[in-house]
Point group: C2
Chain length 270, copies 2
Amino acid sequence: MTTTTTHAFDTAIDLAHNGDGHYVGQTTPEFANMVGPFGGVTAAAIVRAISDHPDRIGDPVALTVNYLAPVSDGSFDVAVRAVRTNRTNQHWVAEVSQDHGVTTTATAVFGVRRDAWSDTEVTMPEVPGPESLSHTTLPGPVPWMRNYDMHYAEGAVPTDSEESPSSTTTLWVRQRPARALDFAALTALTDVFFPRVFLRRGRMLPAGTISLTTYFHVDSAELDRQGTDYVLAHAHAHRFARGYFDQSAQIWGRDGALLATSHQIVYYKD
Amino acid sequence: MTTTTTHAFDTAIDLAHNGDGHYVGQTTPEFANMVGPFGGVTAAAIVRAISDHPDRIGDPVALTVNYLAPVSDGSFDVAVRAVRTNRTNQHWVAEVSQDHGVTTTATAVFGVRRDAWSDTEVTMPEVPGPESLSHTTLPGPVPWMRNYDMHYAEGAVPTDSEESPSSTTTLWVRQRPARALDFAALTALTDVFFPRVFLRRGRMLPAGTISLTTYFHVDSAELDRQGTDYVLAHAHAHRFARGYFDQSAQIWGRDGALLATSHQIVYYKD
């Protein structure tokens, strides 16, 4: 007898297609955040829904997800629609809704990559490898963090109430248990950072992502090469301005491939 | 007799409200780009439409604009809808369309700022003031650029066919003729940069913004303080990857206020 266990991440973004771009998923306790599920898993479900759509061409190039309201425990609908298909790219709109209304809106660009002059201009942060950095044994303040192996090189969750002049966090991270990286998993990883304001203030306080935008820099063949290895995730804020701060992030393969750049605006109360 | 001349930018984003969140505008030759109007002015028209909507609360906090197809010369419709209004923020979706279909989709977050711990962590680029930098007398390759006074501190439009190892551009810029900065004008300014790939390759080539995301860090009272003065605009790319590159930008007031951070993904052919 062979027993196949589905990875908790695949369960969390498992969708039933009801036809005409409508998909139904179920929240899972493993990916719960403070209120509602981890924003990264909701974004991943949207990417999964578009990827599964029969009209889809190419791979994700850009994604913006807006978090209007927490997703309640239970089933949720993901409606996706191709608004326009060009020769090499395709524009999508998406909405996640539940009985109480729309919880999430999104737009996405999928596209086909071509041979063209290419270059990575930004340099990868130089940090020790994941094996030489201590593993975060604390499960973190919320359930979803337990689904990731995290090795912080700088800017771990503050535990000493000390304010920091820097909002930068750099960590090696991969899914726990290890799972091959795909676009859904990469999408979730762009939201793997705890709120930058925690680091600056040396403590946890009310904060939540309002809008998340990611640009993908690889196609699926390049992404497949990452396998189940760690990626290097690097994030910092530019400005904390009276209740909203921004965050810019980079996700690097261990081989030096810049897989994605990602940005978000976050609500905070202090 | 008093003659009042409307600023070309105000003409370009002048909208007639047809009720129920539907607005009608007209393209103007002054803001023409290579194909269709300058992306910044389309984004500004969307901000103007939401700002004009009777249900709108607060100021822009986040905006994502997706460019699906060029806007043809003539009239265009801007349809905006508040999907959800929370206590301190409001989520909008928008679509620009013409007879031939949807040309632009967008999502926006408007919000109210509160007293909270605040800090600008990133530092303003140190460059000479606009008065000590030469004015770009070349009108630029496209009509819309004539609506801006530009003084480049680094990374001007390449004229010598020389490749550059850096995609960074820093310039002082303001509207020509000078006009008080408001959110529509700031939105347009986030797209004031020519494509970063021109700088790297030392020449112009086919390129166009696919998706633009801006985070606003000031409210209207803070923005009003900028008056008609120059702002410092700073942009660079992270990765050029087989037909798509990203750009991250900062828009600073001369007084050192970080007004906006902005990101875009750009199609290019080389």
